[in-house]
Symmetry: C2
Subunit: 691 residues, 2 copies
């Protein structure tokens, strides 16, 4: 008879042991593994300092304090949303970059929120206790939701911090995260996009790379720079091959603990649909950008995001088509299921979990596209509809008890909500119309013209005509109008006759129904099933297994080093000189065009300096802007990308060729000093305080 | 009781009468309408001369002889396939243009075939007589196919001409077309793409426009320029508003006679799927192009075609979502059906036709995507798989009787087939790999990874790995290998172990089955149904109704004139001066960048000269490059595009805003003379013969 337990442990251990796998919780760090594999003694105070110096960018990235005066480093592509919003016609900060020569030149960002984690508390037992034995799925979901929203509110009131309950191990654990929240954030320095995103879409997710993907902000409180905050020291030497490095950031989403049935659904349903939607949106943005430099300026930040997601999803799809990857997943799952089946303790509890997940996928298949189109508004792209949706829903939600509201309208989330809806950032009606046109068309492509909600959207008009009517007839482009709408009752709001609000209200019932079905038929059964799978896994393996990413702070680690590809060895780092060579090879044409400043200053630079380097540490989208630190906890790099082999790390860690890519710390000093004329920033990075 | 007959006639008359509608057969010209609406007396010899001077570009466009020495004018974007094939790394004729200073500089095109129509014969009665009464659908299809292929072969042998039987009115009539065929075609002159396609994708299908979309070729026979061929005189004055103009060209495909059920299927199934495929392909080509100038050069002609189709299909989709358009179609169809139902003569014959078309759509829905993916090889994009498919099929088809072969392998088509497969044009393996990667991925997105044919395609590998294996392992990039494969038996071919041939053979049975189902369950029932609908239409209305476009020669006519849009009046023509103004407004940046030659020569030009003009004549894709002629049959323009309002003309003619766009004849002389240094060509255009 086959020793399934042996296989299982081999499989799980493989999963746990494989080199440097893991995006570790800061309250469950891989202390033993670091000691064993790297002879590194992970001290609690080292970790606590790293935690309090790490920053979450709420628009989807990471960063770190790098001075005691609130200076924060992240990526240009994480900062680009703010760069976009600070730009005006003829003054394009994304393209041209920005340098604040003095403190008073630092530019306030319209709606940027940063979070800094202060503590984590395991509240799994309390959450589980809130669900009465014998509850139905719906009752369990309601009980959990009510408990969690109550706790978030009371903890937030108690501590004055932002408090979020995070679901880990897909339902296997719940932790309470307490954050300091900062909303007065100012732009200090950004390079030109030509330097930050050299190689563009063509080189995105590729290596070797030559990108100066760095952006600096400063956090203010009460109108003054933060002072005395924990921060990471900037290391002026950087790394060499073989060095141990750590990445402290906020990986967004991985799917490593998901079952085969779920991954197959992702491969054959979800990803193909999301890719189709992204391609339609990207095409519309590209076409709009081609109309002229001003249109390009307006659309660029969003276009970057869409193209980046399209490339990432495509890489994930390719990964899931690879039978080596799926075969490994299958083998591990079979081993685990056999072990569970043969173990009386677990067969009853975890046994049905896999089938329940199959069932959830089948349910989801029936309305997944509608769910994404209407509830996630893929059918209604653009900022204006987001406003319309929030205002329409707020008019209904505000009369409900806190715990009964949709998550985004609970008291603990309202600050962030109004920060977004009442942002002073410019709205571009033509861009809104172009995006709405494409997404309305995409909805009709997906569901056909006779679908009742599609008919509500289009009203018998072509997508172009309808989008034009919706945007030109709406007042939502003006902050004052949004502020006024916020305070209206549901009946008053209806009486305004704003076509976008009317549309949001018209499809709201159908849309909420989709969300409800999704939560009850998919999320809730998956939560229960994964929780029980996780429990059997913990029991059989211990907790030496990191949970899937949840856009919360994690610690990864790895070794600096190149790899073999297509018969050649790629080095651990590129050099500044190679960046110029690459530009020359492409006749300095887009997207391989270095800014004039670079050519002018070329001779002043140390061209042999290592520019972008790679390591085996385990990262994913959301880690953009993460500080990369050495054993001393000093910044040696700023993570900005993975290579394409890293795209399938959503499902399975590998270090054969997969690498994350970082801007090297010394090169930041070199470039800020010699090309960008930022002596005060260089001094601040070197000393850790404002000069 | 409603007078349905009255409504029907009103409806049909409306369809027939509406202004300048109609892509007319040259053997059924709209003589009376022209007399009535324009007081134009259409003489047979005028028409015959126009026919014999008009040229079909077999890669999908139109053109005309413009000198007695074989000089042919068409569009740059029709010539671009040849420009691409004549280019080499560092010598990019698409971008840089081309001028043959003397006859000996004229550059032979690798695989271009031109056809010139000599005569048309109505053979409807003979085709119908070939089908025995009481035949099943399959028997009828076989009988027709056998009769048609026999006739094409015998007529071709008798006349020495290319003979094609064309199905008109979707099965309502069959005509025999006899063409002179030319395969020694040489490039004479092409402007830079920056001038020809100024405004790029952003301005494609828009107006006002500023494009010099013109390209000149010369036809040779026995190594010498053609001599004494019929040709159209070049008019140096051009047009003014209100002028009657004719367009003589090869519109590719319209759907005006198709039923509502068919159009709904197109709107909700076919177009969405084709759009998804095009977007995936376009994204791959754009990404490839961004890798560098040489990659851009390799991909540009194809990228243009894909982007153009994507925009055209999207416009069609939008048109079909417009209830004004669909309402008109519905009203006409209901009127016709009511009239048929109340008329004993027709109710029995035509009555079931509409339901049969519904049924055909339902059948098609079951395997349409597979049909396009595998039989039309959307799953296997690139030139190499086309070769593989042809060679694999030829090895099987060559042993069959001529009438039993698939259409493209019949004797009458073999010259064209080998012209294509044995072309000396360069093959770019990296481009092939990129296209194959994207299309394999798209197949998996569409049908899921577990679909049996998808599994045959991917062999458990990621699309990228599999595409690389297929391309790098194949010999099909070399002409000599293709020539050798052509002469092998089926068994010998299999023994070669060429992975692309092996794949073509592996999926051939499934693919042929799809084609067979499509022909029997969709094409054949549709042919019968539309034929019977057409007969009742002819009986009730006469033949004053042009058939849908079939990429065969048609005559359209219309009036030169601007239109109202967005509150302003657009003029009948743009000027050369406005082209410079538009470039300046866009900082001369792509895609609004005029070539250096233009800026250098700006002062020499008559900037007030009308550049591109619009008329109401009825055109569609395939009309690109069509000569636009005046009452005297002289060239006053070269048609190159429609505006976006013209995109829904596939389904319904309108002249409210829809216009086709042409390069104005005088401006061609102006630019060739003053910018392009082509005195010999200018002299030839002015005199009609080589100087």
């Amino acid at each position: 008879m086959i020793n399934w337990r042996g296989l299982l442990l081999a499989g799980l251990l493989a999963q746990g042991v494989v080199a440097d796998e893991g995006m570790w919780l800061l309250n469950q760090p891989p202390k033993e593994k670091l000691q064993r594999d790297y002879n590194f003694d992970l001290k609690p105070e080292w970790l606590d300092h790293l935690m309090k110096s790490s920053v979450r960018f709420n628009n989807g990235g990471s960063g770190a304090f790098v001075s005691q005066d609130g200076l924060v480093v992240t990526n240009h592509h994480i900062g680009s949303d703010s760069l976009q919003k600070l730009s005006k016609p003829g003054r394009d900060l994304v393209q041209q970059g920005f340098v604040a020569r003095s403190l008073k030149d630092e530019a306030p960002c319209p709606d940027l929120e940063l979070n800094v984690l202060q503590s984590i508390e395991d509240i799994t037992a309390q959450v589980e206790a809130s669900v009465k034995a014998g509850s139905t799925g719906e009752q369990a979901a309601n009980a959990r939701r009510s408990f969690i929203s109550g706790l978030e509110k009371s903890e937030s009131e108690k501590s004055g911090l932002r408090c979020d309950v995070v679901t880990l191990y897909l339902g296997g654990a719940y932790h309470l995260y307490r954050y300091k929240k900062y909303t007065d954030v100012r732009l200090v320095m950004a390079p030109e996009q030509g330097a930050a995103f050299f190689g563009g879409d063509a080189d995105n997710f590729e290596y070797p790379r030559y990108d100066f993907d760095v952006c600096l902000f400063r956090v203010y409180e009460n109108g003054k720079p933060l002072n005395g905050n924990p921060y990471l020291k900037w290391n002026a030497q950087g790394v060499k091959p073989g060095d141990l490095v750590f990445v402290s950031g906020h990986p967004g989403r991985t799917n490593r603990l998901e079952t085969l049935a779920r991954l197959e659904h992702l491969r054959d349903q979800t990803l193909p649909f999301r890719l189709a939607a992204l391609r339609s949106q990207e095409m519309a943005l590209r076409l709009y950008s081609q109309r002229g430099p001003e249109q390009r300026r307006q659309a660029q930040a969003e276009l970057y995001g869409v193209a980046n997601a399209r490339k990432a999803y495509s890489g994930q799809h390719f990964g899931l088509l690879d039978q080596d990857l799926m075969g490994t997943k299958r083998q591990r799952e079979q081993a685990h299921r056999q072990a569970v089946a043969q173990d009386g303790r677990w067969s009853q509890e975890s046994g049905p979990a896999w089938d329940n997940i199959v069932k959830a996928q089948t349910q989801l298949g029936g309305y997944e596209k509608e769910y994404y189109l209407f509830e996630q508004h893929l059918a209604l792209q653009g900022t204006l509809f987001e406003f319309a949706r929030h205002l329409a829903r707020w008019s209904q939600e505000k009369d409900k008890a806190n715990g009964d509201r949709l998550r985004e309208y609970r008291d603990s989330n309202l600050d962030s909500l109004w920060q977004e809806v009442l942002s002073s950032a410019d709205i571009y009606p033509d861009l809104e119309t172009a995006e709405l046109t494409a997404s309305l068309g995409f909805a009709a492509e997906t569901l056909g013209a006779t679908h009742p909600t599609v008919q509500q959207l289009l009203q018998g008009k072509s997508p172009e005509a309808r989008a034009h009517e919706l945007v030109s007839g709406s007042s939502l482009g003006r902050v004052a109008a949004r502020k006024r709408y916020r305070d209206l009752s549901s009946a008053e709001l209806k009486a305004q006759g704003d076509p976008l609000i009317d549309l949001a209200l018209a499809i709201d019932e159908a849309s909420r129904k989709l969300r409800r079905r999704y939560e009850l038929e998919v999320m809730e059964p998956e939560l229960s099933a994964y929780a029980s799978i996780a429990r059997s896994q913990f029991a059989l393996q211990g907790k030496d297994l990191a949970p899937d990413a949840t856009f919360t702070l994690r610690l990864s680690y790895g070794k600096v080093g190149g790899y073999r590809e297509g018969g050649r060895t790629l080095p651990f780092a590129t050099t500044l000189g190679e960046a110029f060579a690459c530009a020359r090879q492409h006749q300095n044409e887009e997207p391989f065009r270095l800014p004039k400043r670079w050519w002018d200053g070329q001779k002043r630079l140390n061209l042999n300096m290592a520019y972008d380097f790679v390591s085996t540490a385990d990262t994913i989208g959301g880690n953009s802007g993460s500080p990369v630190v050495n054993r001393q906890g000093e910044v040696v790099g700023v993570n900005f990308d993975r290579n394409r082999h890293g795209l399938s790390r959503n499902f399975l860690y590998t270090d054969l060729q997969a690498r994350h890519i970082s801007v090297h710390s010394p090169v930041v000093l070199e470039l800020l000093e010699k090309l960008y004329g930022c002596p005060r920033v260089v001094a601040e990075l070197r000393s850790g305080k404002r000069p």
